[in-house]
Amino acid sequence: MKKASILMIIGPLFLLGLYFFPLWNIMLGAPQYPEPLGINIHIDGLQGVNEFDIQNIDGLNHYIGMKTLPKPEDMWEFSVFPLIIGVMVILGVLIGFLGFFKVVSPNWFIGWFVVMSILGILGMYDFNAWMVDYGTNLDPNAIMKLANPDGTPMTYKPPLFGHAKMLNFDVTSLPATGAWMMFTGMMLILIAFLWGRKMWKPKKQEVLQTANS
């Protein structure tokens, strides 16, 4: 149980990577952009992969009437997400310590995991909703108003995961270092739970087992 608890202490610390590395990355390549433009999505805002990428993406997007990419102050998520991650890291480490001293059972580990997963799914849902708005809520006076073959107005929602062809751009959206670190941390916690459950012997059970043997 001690070893499982140590994992439970280490696991949440991987989430700290989100403060330093991007969560998600979207790359936009085109014939005239052999070196693709890119957006790194951090929990506290967007950054260009190269210094002027955000400005250049906005410059291109104005042709099709997309809003400019949000600054940190434009979206509540960019101030709330870092807080949530901070709270979850502290809670996780705390649960790990309590597990170490056998104050709480490994069920708390899986409890943390479930809460974090729900928050993650909510975050993804929110992210997707923003992209839908960003890609479909277009300026009616846009310079270029394109239609799909069926006559409906063309929209430009980037893919949440994977590749999509949008006009002349190849758009690839994938988790980045921060997300992979979070994933690793959560896997450690899942292992901590499974391992800890196997080794978890409440005092009463220990007595019984001693008696039986």
């Binding site: 070196e35 002027f52 250049n56 410059g59 042709y63 310079i143 270029m144």
Partner: protein, 652 residues
């Protein structure tokens, strides 16, 4: 019957086999050779060349950038000539670059590029070039590929033995080809002899900024100082100049300055003269010359007139200057990578003369002089000469080197390149050029570390090499593969202007440092607007200043009213793009100047003096984007006495 058919068809098949085979064998022979040359110069679409080559444009006044081995031209860098393509020399910011003591000069004759060096090896920071006609030296940045500085050389005439740098880029050296009266004065031409001077200028280069400063001029006798090279390695601290017209003739020079069997190579110990000058030596002389500097952050050039130059009488610095007799009006004066051999190419002879630096020092040490000229000791030919290349060619001009102890000399009259061995002086190979080659260039061939893979021969005569284009044609150049024992001609390409010399370096030396954009947040131009809401129009008497910004695909503002006939309108345009390769251009109808091309983050100014009432369109001259055609606007011009206030707008 069937057998007969079978028989005939067999014969047919065999015959076909032979017919098919024989030319096939021949074809594959020729084809294999041709394809190997083709493969050597072929740079597949999307791939990049191994070397940059900077070819002087001669009378174009500019420098051209090519790739080796493809021979593709990448850029023309305007240096001494106005260049409507970018607006260089036309924009308000770049006009000062062409200022001289004779006023604005829109042209010069650019001959010899030389890339900056550290410890005798190319460092790829700057390239220096000379203007021959109105003597000037320019420094070009190899991160922006723009002319950053031009300094005029006083007391000089025909700035030809220039612009060659010393092995740590301590100095750019600029020698005069034509001797002139110093100071210039009204005097009879036929009193040239003994009165005219040949100024050799030493221009220091700031090791950080590259800024040029004319540190001193050595006032030599009135010979013609033709070409020059720095010593390197053991001979670092010396500089060697070839001379002709030691006869000091002033008319019908082709005869009168070809009378002496030997002219000189002048050996200058500049370190010694530098010490002399640093210790207060030399004479300050009143003069007047322009020093023009372009600042990358203000995007503007400024011209300052300098009023004084430090001159040095070579006879006042004992042991600093010597003459090495060299046969037949030497033209090229080249120093091998070790710094030991000084090669004098007597342009009217068949042979190449090689002097030894070591022997020269020994002769000086032993004071074995053969008289003097104007107080400058002349060394004995036999004492300094270490070898002669019996070339079998005629009219040797210039020599470059590889890193394996070989030298390559061009022969103008016999139109060929001859490869020979340093030390044994034996000829290894010779290949024709098409036609009448002048300079040649091996990347790094004027350094301690040549890259002996390709040799570029720059020819003076083109004749039938390309499709004819009337009496005036571009010059031709050839590329030879020199990686083997024998040289192999692998490519032939036309060059722009008249390339005299060239400089080359590995692409890797420059590629990573090449700037993609200018940062808008570092733009210090006094008329820049860093955000479109600062765009405005201001009147100051009859001067109207338009502070304009551009981004794909509009000008801010694009409607301007209140301009009057007789106004002088300055369009100060800042390109707000921060994306690689998205320039915007500007021109307006009736402008008495060229368009301007503004790079991302840059500000340039174009002047317009409207002479007619009306509504005049302006537009972006660079196809910048899908909506480039819409990138346009209007200026309303009212009569001179109209009561119109300035107004401007965008999208209203």
């Amino acid at each position: 019957m069937r057998n007969l058919n079978y028989f005939f068809s067999s014969i047919m098949a065999i015959a076909l086999l032979f017919i098919g085979c024989k030319p096939g064998t021949n074809g594959s022979d020729g084809g294999a050779l041709a394809s190997s040359a083709a493969e050597k110069v072929y740079v597949a679409p999307g791939e990049q060349d191994e070397f940059y080559a900077f070819l002087s444009g001669g009378y174009s006044g500019n420098l051209t950038v090519y790739g080796l081995p493809s021979g593709r031209m990448f850029k023309e860098i305007p240096v001494f000539s106005q260049f409507p393509t970018s607006g260089y020399g036309y924009s308000e910011e770049t006009k000062p670059m062409l200022n001289t003591s004779h006023g604005f000069i829109p042209w010069d004759d650019l001959h010899h590029p030389d890339i900056s060096q550290t410890n005798g090896e190319l460092d790829g920071r700057w390239i220096f070039v000379n203007g021959n006609n109105t003597p000037r030296i320019a420094r070009i940045s190899l991160s922006t590929f723009e002319t950053e500085e031009i300094i005029e050389i006083p007391n000089s005439g025909g700035n030809h033995s220039s612009a060659f740098i010393t092995e740590n880029t301590e100095y750019v050296i600029a020698g005069t080809r034509f001797a002139v009266p110093v100071p210039q004065r009204d005097m009879p031409i036929n009193e040239y002899k003994g009165n005219f001077k040949g100024a050799l200028s030493f221009i220091s280069v700031d090791p950080e900024s590259g800024r040029l400063d004319l540190k001193f001029q050595v006032m030599m006798p009135g010979f013609n100082y033709d070409l020059s090279r720095p010593g390197r390695g053991k001979s670092h601290g010396w500089h060697f100049f070839s001379t002709y017209n030691t006869e000091e003739a002033n008319s019908l020079m082709e005869v009168n300055s070809s009378q002496n069997d030997k002219d000189f190579i002048a050996a200058i110990n500049w370190k010694k003269i530098e010490d002399y000058v640093n210790n207060g030596g030399g004479t300050k002389m009143a003069t007047n010359y322009a020093h023009n500097v372009y600042d990358e952050h203000t995007h503007s050039g400024t011209s300052t007139m300098k009023k004084e130059v430090l001159t040095v009488d070579p006879t006042e610095v004992p042991g600093a200057v010597f003459f090495l007799p060299t046969p037949k009006s030497p033209h090229g004066c080249d120093v091998d990578p070790s710094g030991e051999y000084i090669i004098g190419a007597g342009k009217l002879s068949a042979d190449i003369t090689v002097h030894s630096f070591t022997k020269m020092l020994e002769a000086i040490e032993a004071e074995k002089f053969d008289g003097e000229a104007y107080g400058i000791p002349i060394l004995k030919f036999e004492d300094v000469m270490t070898g002669q290349v019996k070339s079998g060619g005629l009219g040797p001009l210039h020599t470059e080197f590889d890193s394996n102890g070989n030298a390559y000399t061009t022969f103008f009259i016999s139109s060929e390149v001859v490869k020979w061995k340093l030390g044994t002086w034996e000829v290894v190979d010779r290949k024709p050029t098409f036609y009448s080659v002048g300079h040649l260039m091996i990347p790094g061939g004027n350094s301690r570390n040549p890259f002996g893979k390709y040799l570029v021969a720059m020819n003076k005569i083109t004749k039938d090499r390309y499709l004819p284009t009337g009496p005036e044609m571009e010059h031709s150049a050839q590329i030879y593969d020199i990686s083997g024992e024998k040289m192999e001609l692998i490519y032939d390409f036309p060059t722009h202007g008249e390339p005299h010399y060239a400089a080359g370096c590995p692409a890797d030396l420059l590629r990573a440092n090449s700037k993609k954009i200018y940062r808008l947040d570092e733009n210090k131009h006094p008329y820049a607007v860093t955000s479109p809401d600062q765009a405005r129009v201001e009147r100051n008497g009859n001067e109207v200043h338009v502070y304009m910004s551009t981004i794909r695909s509009h000008f801010t503002p694009d409607n301007i009213e209140g301009v009057k006939v007789g106004d002088k309108v300055y369009f100060h345009i800042t390109n707000h793009e921060q994306d690689f390769d998205v320039p915007h251009g500007f021109s307006i109808l009736g402008q008495n100047t060229s368009e301007i091309l503004i790079m991302p983050g840059q500000t340039k100014t174009s002047v317009w003096e409207p002479k007619q009432v009306g509504v005049w369109p302006f537009y972006c001259t660079d196809f910048c984007s899908a909506l480039h055609q819409e990138m346009q606007g209007y200026v309303r011009v009212s009569p001179a006495n109209a009561n119109m206030d300035l107004s401007w707008s965008l999208g209203e």
